[in-house]
Amino acid sequence: MTAPIATNQTILVVGGGISGLTAALEAAECGKQVILVEKTPALGGRTAQLYRYFPKMCHPTCGLEINLKRIKGNPNVKVMTMTEVTAVAGSRGDYAVTLKVSPRFVNESCTACGECAKAVQSEVADAFNYGLAKVKAAYLPHAMAYPQRYVIDPSIVGTAEGEAAKAACKYGAVDLGMKEETVQLNVGAVIWATGWRPFDANRIQPYGYDRYANVITSVEFERLADPHGPTGGKLLRPSDGKEAKNIAFIQCAGSRDENYLRHCSRICCMATLKQTQYVREACGDGGKSTVYYIDIRAIDRFEDFYQNVQKDATVSFVKSKVARIAENKDNGNPVLHGVDTEGYHRYAVEHDLVVLAVGMEPEVTGLREQGGLPADIIQDSSNFIEGSKDGGMFGAGAASSPLDVNRAVQSATAASLKAIQVIHKTASTEAA
């Protein structure tokens, strides 16, 4: 591929989730040149994998549609997918950035007609659905994927199936010869919108996520509730595909815990309150949600959402950090053991399904080796980005702090202006 033109007046945005999209677009709509790099094959990030937003219960893809329309309509933004930053040299106003572009095995000629997928039989884990389902090894990441281009999974490259996919494409879009490429860029400022990842629930041993099929994570639950998800929006539990009606939500799964994450992930309380309404949506009055919490952090305007959920007879709250989960061998129900600390009431209750409200940690950690952040970046004790020593690189969105979408966008918009300040300073000093 040909490297896009970039100068010290160009802003590099790393990460194509809602924060990266925002940072890139806000700068571009101020007339700035932006290069937006995304590690995965499509833009949208984790918000695209959410079913609904709190508190409006609206659909994240609605905002994504607008942002994609903004991208399509704006020549100032150059998008590079399947691309990662491997090195950053130089300093504020003049960075030399090295990018690694992984092969998609499908070129710009792709029309998304889908013939390659028809020609391929073998399947791979569906990343969009957090591996809860499988997709063909030639796939469109999801219905709204941008760029609207298929991906050939490396596993079938060099196999008969790979050739079949190639043969099936009338447009010469399948290019099995693609190799990993390295691209060098010069940019004036860098915005790290590298986002978050769900905390690894396997590490929370007392909850047996690794041992019990019906203990899942909050991000997986989003996919279950989504009509575009693996269960077509039905809340079917993994062990036996039965509809889950009596669901437990465990807060601070990893967060606020010095054994795992020191910080509070901020979004999980609201996310769970939202998800209790998925249960209502699916089961009506027949559903039952129980929220096990330490503090309900429904901050600022969100308080009324909390108050409305409290009025919902199908939702109850227990002030308790669940001690451990066992499994009822006969029916596969998780059994929660703990104590309601409001007055000390011991419980041992069965639920159909347990949803762990897993915490947020930075997707890109403090590791300095390849793929990590440049040494110049300042991170806090949980590896969130506070800024850079030379003041030319900025964290945006969930890479900078555990933030909900609204605040992530706010943060990204601010980061966008800070980047513009940098390149304007460079321009004016050069002019002088």
Partner: protein, 747 residues
Amino acid sequence: MADNKFAAYICSGCGIGDVLNVGALEKIAQKEGKMAIVKNHPFLCNAEGVQLIKDDIANEGVTHLCIAACSRRAKAEAFSFPTVAVSRANLREGVLWVIAEGADHDEVRQEMAEDYVRMGCAEVKKMTLPGGNLKESSSKRILVVGGGMSGMTAALAAADAGYETVVVEKSGELGGFANKLLKRVPFSGPYAEPQPTGAANMTARVSHHPLIKVHLNSTLAETAGAPGRFNAKIAQESGAVAEELVGAIVQATGFTTYDIAKLPELGGGQANVVDQAGLEAMAKAANGGAIKRADGKEVKSVVFVQCAGQRDASGVHLPYCSGHCCATSIKQAMYFKDQNPDVDTVVIYQDLRVPGMGEDFYRSAQQKGVIFTKGKAGRVTGGDNCKVEFRDLILDEDTSAEADLVVLATGQVPSAGVNLDDWTATVTAAESGDETAKAKKIELQKTSVLNLTYRQGPDVPQFKYGFADSHFICFPYETRRTGIYAAGPVRRPMDMLQAQEDATGAALKAIQAVENAARGRAAHPRAWDLSFPKARLEGCTQCKRCTVECPFGAIDEDEKRFPLFNEERCRRCGTCMGACPVRVISFENYSCDTVGSQIKAVNIPDEFEEKPRILILACENDAYPALDMAGIQRITYSAYVRAIPVRCLGSVNTIWITDALNSGYDGVMMMGCKKGDDYQCHFVKGSEMAHYRMSKIGDTLKQLGLEPERVQTQEVAITDNARVARLIDEYVAQINEIGLSPMKGFG
């Protein structure tokens, strides 16, 4: 300008050519579409296909082209020809992928494709290329209202980016609420100790910044104009009025603290019961020494009562949580502990809300010996020996704590100016001669912050609880007053860290607004849009529907009550166009004609063919993508529908409906986004307005002798791929039920 030359390009790729008779489509484009050039290509979106079109533009002088291929949502970059008018006939997602396979559908599938080609040609014929409207004289200065932390941050952010900035502060000094604080909570690691507020340094930077001009003791007497040309009249202490021409406005007017006098049950108004602001004052007075009460007694024990007059479900006090108060009380408890570890400090909370790294600040306070008790305060009595009665929620008992001082953590009340609902009601009443309303209007006017000369009222609309927030989660700066952006606690309850971030973001949006205005472009969400509404005033009946219904207050009225368009305020939704009963309002590339001609272009079979025709008018942001994605997922629906994307249901003019029914359509489906309190419409009331207007169309239907079912409005979400197909098939069934339209052949 050169003569128009029309061309149509039909793609036979992605299987279009295999399933559809492309030759027939070409003929239609020539004969019915009257296209001067008609070409087909097996792979139109590749370099060669695109070059074919470029060459015709360059060599054949093509000015208008219809691309009959995939959806307008696909291949946008390949099919971007900025110098010509372009329409897209959606043969792939709109026909090929949604109509069931097999020979018995060949006929209806082909008819559908032919209609879309007809529509595409008809549309482009009525389009002109938007020229934009460059403003030479456009101002790029930024006005910041409010000189607190948010305001100063916004001013510095804009000025540091090279934009001249004007700050208007009503008090005699910059710094705002931060001046009242001894210290702030930490913004960065290790999140253990209170930090200096930094207000003084910031004040100094603002005062000395070459690009920043500050008006102290000043308020906005009047704000007229639009982005790029706001004229702000600034009333000064002296009584003089300064005028500033600015391009955009950041409203950072902050908050006031909830009046503790309203909390008598919590000791509000009694001795030694203070709010957090009061405690800051005491701490500043102590100046590093022991904190003393009003009566001079050294405070040896203090109780903090969280959520005082907040999170109140009873409707008496603030229903919301102000977010910052838990961390603030922690900070204030540290004031005591750091000065003297033996002071007893107890924080009574219901949920301790210190998100993110605030957890470390909480730990630090515990480390210092601050006691946290989960409880709900009942009665507080002040005096020499204060008493807080509360329910200990852990020990499950009613108990009480005695202390020298009680601090109530009260909430933030936004200073957002006039509530526009209130305003509109008052104005309407006043106009109908209500005297008290007239008086109230004057009182309201006094409370205004911006004093906008907009028809829709003097301030920005408020979202909830008086906060001037955006309605959208993905777009916190999506203002309903183009070029005016609220920032800080006036937008939403928040702490200083968030306020400064927010102000920086708002400054960017202000910069964007002045840049867009200068380019004559729209603002978010149609930032790329160069079209803007034009009105043939000679046809106007001064009915004021456009001025009333414009969701963005873009249209004023001149003395003769003709609409005065402020295109820089306009968001290009077309609501005015939909509202206009005499259809004098239009955009270059979107008008009553561009849509009307498409409707008329559809070939209506006579009733004996028993092929109903159903018109779909689909919101281009939610419903049309849903239809599109139904195609991408190969979900099939009836071939009897003809879908036209509209910018917003609010732009739908009833003439389209009546024309459609007159010309023999059997039904009309309007698909818009969610309405109501949690509306999805980025043009505020489009969907709602459509429902309203269609409720009115009943009479027209009666006159035509048609059943009300022939017009249907649906709320469709972007995720409704499968549902939208179901809705279509159900409606087709329903239409077959009530029978085909009697109007056929009369159109």
